[in-house]
Each structure stands twice: as structure tokens, then as C-alpha cells.
């Protein structure tokens, strides 16, 4: 029997108070995610249970019990307090998936500060935009990533501390730099966890916008209620599970379901800090006896590409439940997974802004391959007519995925950008930016984005941000960035570029521009294809018609071109 039991019964009798009660929380009580994920589990007598089994790419392993992570998060919290970090100050985590990332996240929350995780592959420009917007006080990083922060330090007046967790003393520390070593620090046993309340800010994740710069999605400690219950019911996490979430905590899946939910449930989770390799992944599942695996469609398609034969080399019989998130899970991947693992991947749908799963396929419910599933109990979801901004009276029509904005882990606002937050609503509905249709039984079927945002391997990339960065390259006069279909990553970034006088298109220039964007923004934002064109299609008012280029890449109808400039 799954944790959720009967989906229909749960919908009928649902209240978020179920999670509140299980967590022993009542309205107006203190709620601190850091405490719930560590101290509370120890108080339940599970201090010696393994919380985190970590392995790095060199094969080094580290195992932490719940008592170990309680002490480590206290120690990090005490260190940050010692630096003068106050509640609600932003502390950025800019690291690979090393233990300090997971423990640092909870340590930050324990002192009431706001954790701001940023993907460690971000380039200096991506960092600058996000750290400036958040007015971040401290960055916790590794010596390998510190140079990217040093490069922009002069432009970050609010940044007081650059904390390096693996400083080896080989090079002297620079301005504002400080060393923290978890292993060399005396563990802090008694620690006053800051008494955050339900609406105290907890996490700031940045997400890409269509027309503007990235937006900081503000979450609060009460998000725990949703994250706890969705992990229990949608991911079916159980006390004896060995759980593997493959997401990087630089992104929201990696924090909501890679840190908060499993630790709040007292689950043993494992982390493999290594690049993708089918052999390594299967070996990891076999060796750790992984029971619950939460991954992403791009990874699943990469495993499909590696073939069925390799699967037979490993004993993967420990796997009990599989789930996926990040992009639409194509039906072929679901069917393949049933064939090779003997069980399907259950697709789940949510966003940085939702903070937790809002639509999904649940254990015990019929999986319709290719479908996003049904709203999580307590969530009201619909498909909105984009003209009337009302739910379609009949099912089967493609419209906007919209939600009643009333679950605990919903974002509270965009950081310093309430205007953008308000624009996410129409007629009382939260607009996700995705399109879908509903079938007769209430299953959602993804139909694409409703804006220009590019979803590449489950990560959102803003064409605007890439275009802005492209213009900083000395050869680029104008650019337009769109998605193009990709069999592995769903979509990848493609740039159309016109060159300044004196520059000629060449394969070397193509590579130079690719690397320019990769280093400035991130590998995800790097155009995988650059097409040099003599001019870009524009409206008569001079606006680049990205829509036409997108249609060309996807083989779609070009549509209305009446506003197209006549060259």
C-alpha cells in the first residue's frame, strides 16, 4: 500500500493540517526548516540513522548520521553568526554537490538567514545579476569557484564575506575572504535555533524571466508543510528508503526534494557528486541499494541512449519507486522504464514558484504515459481559456495551466519585484506559463510553454538574458535567441546573430561566441547552434520577431506577419 492510498479519498478529505499534525506544528508556533530537518529527527530517537551518504567524483565517501548533520548545521550556523550574519540576510551557496552545500543550506536556515543557492556552473555575469539583486551578504564557496566571485567583488558592495570551505593555504586569502572548515571546526552541540515563524523567509531561488533579468523567488519556512507531504505522498518516501534525488541544489528540486523533504521525513538519502555516466549511475543504485529514485527526463533519455544491455549488468532490484521532474516526460521514456526497470517513472510537475509538486502521477493511480497527472490533493488546478481567463467549460482544449494560489509552499513574491509577481495572476488564478489540456478524467497533458522561456534539460533559460550577453561580444551587432528541438534535452538554445562591420562569420567565431556565453552565463545558456544571418526579422517598430525564428526551428506555421518590417 502506498503512502497516499486512494488518491480520490485523499482529495475528498484533504487538509494541510494533516502535515502540520504529523510535524507537530500548530498555527503561530515557531517553524524552522533547519531544526525540523535535524534536531527534530534526533529527538525522535533517530540520531544514529544515516542521513546523508555522499560520494565525490574521486570516489571519496562521507557518511553523516542525523546527529552528525545536527552538529554540522549548528557549527555552520554558529560560524555565520560569528561573522555577524543576521536573520533575513541572504547567504549564497555557490558550490558543487559537496556535503557543505547540503549542511550549509540548513545551517543558514537555523540562524534565520535566507539561503540563496546558485548553480556552481554559473559564470560571473549570471552571478553578478543574482547577487546584486539579492544584496547578498555572504557567499559560501569552494576555492575552485572563488575566482568567479573575486572577479565581480568590486561590483558587490553588500557582499561582506567570501567564505571558502576548502582553502588549503596554498594561496593567501584576499579582501573579504574567510576560511571555514567543517572538519576542523569544533562541533557545536548546544545551539539556539532562530525562532522563525511560518511567514519568515527561508530560500531565494532565481528563475529566468521572459523579458527581464532573473527573478528571485522568495519562499518561507511554512513551505515545509507542502514539501513534507508531497514527498510522502507523491514520491512515496518511507522510513526505510534509500533515496536518491539526482538534482543539484542550485535549483529548486535539489533543495525542496534534495534537502528539505527527505531530511524532514528522516529518510536516508544519497548524493553522487559526479558527472553523468550510465555505468556510474547504475553502479551507484546497485551499491547503495537505492529504493526511491527521483530524476529528470534528460537523464532518463540519456540512460535510454546508453541502451538496455548495460542495465542487465547491474542488480537494480532494490528500486521500489521512480519519479521524474523538470520537463515533460515523454511516453517513450515511461514505457522504456517499465521495460527495463519493471516500473514506470511517475512524472511530477511543479516550478520554482510553486516550491513543491502541484500536479503529478501518484503511486496506485493509473499512469498515463506522457501525462503530467492530476493536481496534488489540496491543489486546485485548471486549464484557462487565455482570452476569457476562465477555465474552459469543456475539456480537451489547450490553454494555460493555472492554479489557485493557496498551498503552503507557494512563493510569496519575487525579490524586490512585486510588480512581476502580480503579473503572474489573472482573474484570481496563478498562471504557470505552461500550456496544457485536460482529458475527460482530469489528467493534465503538457502542450508547451506560453512564453519564450527555453526549457533545456529541465532548466529554464531566458532568451533575453542570453541576447543581452551576446551583445557584449565585440563581434555581435544584434541577436535573437530561441529554442530548438533536441532529442536529449527537449530544447537547446539557438542564437541568430548579425555581425558588426569588420567581422566575418566563421567556425572559429562561432566557437568563440559559444565559449563567451558559457563562461559569462552558464553552460546551459550557451547556444548549441549559432546561425549568422545578414539581418533579423523585425516589426515596423523595430522589435525583433523572435516568434518567426522559433516557428522556423520547430517547423510550425509562421502565423501573422502583417507587422513584419519590409526590408
Amino acid at each position: 500500500m502506498s503512502n497516499i492510498g486512494s488518491y480520490d479519498e485523499r482529495v475528498k478529505n484533504f487538509s494541510w493540517a494533516i502535515a502540520e499534525k504529523e510535524l507537530g506544528w500548530k498555527p503561530n508556533d515557531v517553524i524552522n526548516i533547519g531544526w525540523y530537518c535535524t534536531d527534530r529527527i534526533c529527538r525522535q530517537g533517530k540520531g544514529s540513522k544515516v542521513a546523508l551518504h555522499w560520494e565525490g567524483h574521486t570516489g571519496v565517501e562521507k557518511i553523516y548520521t542525523y546527529n552528525d548533520i545536527r552538529l554540522a548545521t549548528n557549527t555552520i550556523g554558529a560560524f555565520l553568526r560569528g561573522l555577524g550574519i543576521k536573520p533575513e540576510e541572504r547567504v549564497c551557496l555557490f558550490m558543487d554537490r559537496i556535503p557543505e552545500l547540503y549542511l550549509g543550506f540548513l545551517g543558514i536556515l537555523k540562524i534565520g538567514a535566507i539561503a540563496q543557492p546558485l548553480f556552481s556552473a554559473f559564470g560571473d555575469e549570471s552571478l553578478l545579476v543574482r547577487l546584486s539583486n539579492a544584496e547578498t551578504s555572504a557567499v559560501i564557496t569552494q576555492k575552485k569557484h572563488a575566482p568567479k566571485v573575486r572577479k565581480i567583488l568590486d561590483k558587490l558592495p553588500h557582499l561582506r564575506h567570501l567564505i571558502i570551505v576548502d582553502h588549503d593555504g596554498a594561496a593567501p586569502l584576499k579582501d573579504r575572504e574567510v576560511v571555514f572548515s567543517l572538519e576542523k571546526s569544533a562541533p557545536v552541540d548546544d545551539f539556539d535555533v532562530y525562532p522563525t515563524t511560518a511567514e519568515s523567509p527561508s530560500v531565494l531561488h532565481y528563475t529566468s524571466g521572459t523579458t527581464g533579468m532573473p527573478k528571485g523567488v522568495k519562499h518561507v519556512h511554512y513551505s515545509l508543510i507542502s514539501q513534507y507531504l508531497t514527498a510522502k505522498w507523491a514520491l512515496d518516501l518511507r522510513d526505510d528508503d534509500i533515496y536518491w534525488c539526482t538534482a543539484d541544489p542550485g535549483w529548486v528540486t535539489g533543495t525542496s526534494y534534495g534537502i528539505i523533504a527527505p531530511f524532514a521525513l528522516g529518510i536516508t538519502q544519497c548524493v553522487l557528486d559526479a558527472g553523468f555516466s550510465a555505468e556510474a549511475w547504475y553502479k551507484w543504485i546497485e551499491r547503495l541499494r537505492v529504493t526511491m529514485w527521483y530524476s529528470a527526463p534528460t537523464a532518463i533519455r540519456s540512460l535510454m541512449k546508453a541502451g538496455d544491455e548495460i542495465v542487465k549488468k547491474y542488480d537494480l532490484s532494490s528500486l521500489r519507486h521512480l519519479a521524474s521532474v523538470g520537463e515533460p516526460l515523454n511516453s517513450e521514456a515511461v514505457v522504456w522504464s517499465e521495460k527495463v526497470f519493471g516500473k514506470p517513472f511517475y512524472d511530477t510537475y511543479w516550478q520554482t514558484e510553486t516550491g513543491s509538486i502541484v500536479i503529478g502521477n501518484y503511486p496506485g493511480m493509473e499512469v498515463r504515459p506522457g501525462s503530467m497527472g492530476k493536481p496534488f490533493p489540496g491543489i486546485t488546478g485548471t486549464v484557462l481559456d487565455p482570452v476569457k481567463n476562465e477555465p474552459y467549460p469543456t475539456r480537451g482544449k489547450i490553454g494555460l495551466v493555472a492554479l489557485k494560489f493557496d498551498w503552503p509552499s507557494r512563493m510569496r513574491t519575487y525579490w524586490n519585484n512585486e510588480e512581476a509577481f502580480q503579473k503572474k495572476f489573472r482573474n484570481g488564478w496563478y498562471i504557470t506559463g505552461d500550456r496544457s489540456k485536460l482529458d475527460a478524467d482530469g489528467y493534465f497533458w503538457f502542450a508547451g510553454r506560453d512564453d519564450d522561456i527555453i526549457n533545456t534539460a529541465g532548466h529554464l533559460v531566458s532568451p533575453f538574458e542570453v541576447e543581452s550577453a551576446l551583445l557584449e561580444h565585440p563581434a555581435v551587432a544584434e541577436s535573437a535567441v530561441v529554442s530548438k528541438p533536441d532529442p536529449l534535452n527537449l530544447e537547446v538554445v539557438k542564437a541568430f546573430v548579425t555581425l558588426k562591420p569588420g567581422f566575418a562569420a566563421s567556425s572559429d567565431l562561432d566557437l568563440e561566441i559559444m565559449n563567451f556565453i558559457r563562461k559569462k552565463l552558464s553552460p546551459l545558456a550557451m547556444p548549441q547552434e549559432i546561425e549568422f544571418v545578414p539581418s533579423l526579422p523585425k516589426t515596423r517598430s523595430g522589435k525583433i520577431m523572435r516568434r518567426l525564428l522559433h516557428a522556423k526551428e520547430w517547423g510550425e506555421e509562421i502565423g501573422d506577419t502583417s507587422t513584419l518590417e519590409n526590408d
Binding site: A121, G275, S277, S507, M514, R518, M526
Partner: protein, 85 residues
């Protein structure tokens, strides 16, 4: 050619992808599984090799395994250079 090719690829990886150049990189250092080059960046590394050696590496040959060390990349490039004649 192999030795020269090895050094060209190694130097390019150090220059373009290694964030911490105090870390030693050898011909056998795992690049993809070691997290030095991610799957997206692999596209630019492939493009570099194609430009430099006037070859075309099909996507199904450009696997994480084939790009996982300088030595493996060199084997791959040599194969396509030989094919070209």
C-alpha cells in the same frame, strides 16, 4: 601526431574548462564523470575538435564516455582523422 594532439586537447581543456588551475590535469583525468566538463560544455569541446581537425563527429559518437578523458578524446579524433584520409 598522438602526442601533439594530446597536448593540444589537454591545454584546451585546462584553458577553457578548468576553473581551478591548481588542480593537476592528466591525460587520464575523468573529464565528464569528474565534473570538469558537463554535457552542455561538451558541445563546445566537440566543436573545437571539429574546427581544429576539420572533422565531423556524429552526435551518437560524441558520448560522455568517449569524451571522458584526454586520451579517449584523442582516440576518437584520430579515428575520424584517419577516416577522412
Amino acid at each position: 601526431m598522438a602526442e601533439e594532439l594530446k597536448d593540444i586537447v589537454l591545454n584546451y581543456v585546462v584553458k577553457e574548462y578548468l576553473e581551478d588551475d591548481s588542480e593537476p590535469l592528466t591525460y587520464e583525468t575523468p573529464l565528464i564523470s569528474g565534473g570538469i566538463v558537463d554535457s552542455f560544455s561538451m558541445v563546445s569541446l566537440k566543436r573545437f575538435l571539429e574546427n581544429k581537425y576539420a572533422i565531423s563527429i556524429p552526435d551518437d559518437e560524441a558520448t560522455p564516455e568517449a569524451f571522458d578523458s584526454v586520451n579517449k578524446i584523442v582516440s576518437l579524433v584520430e579515428r575520424f582523422v584517419a577516416k577522412k584520409g
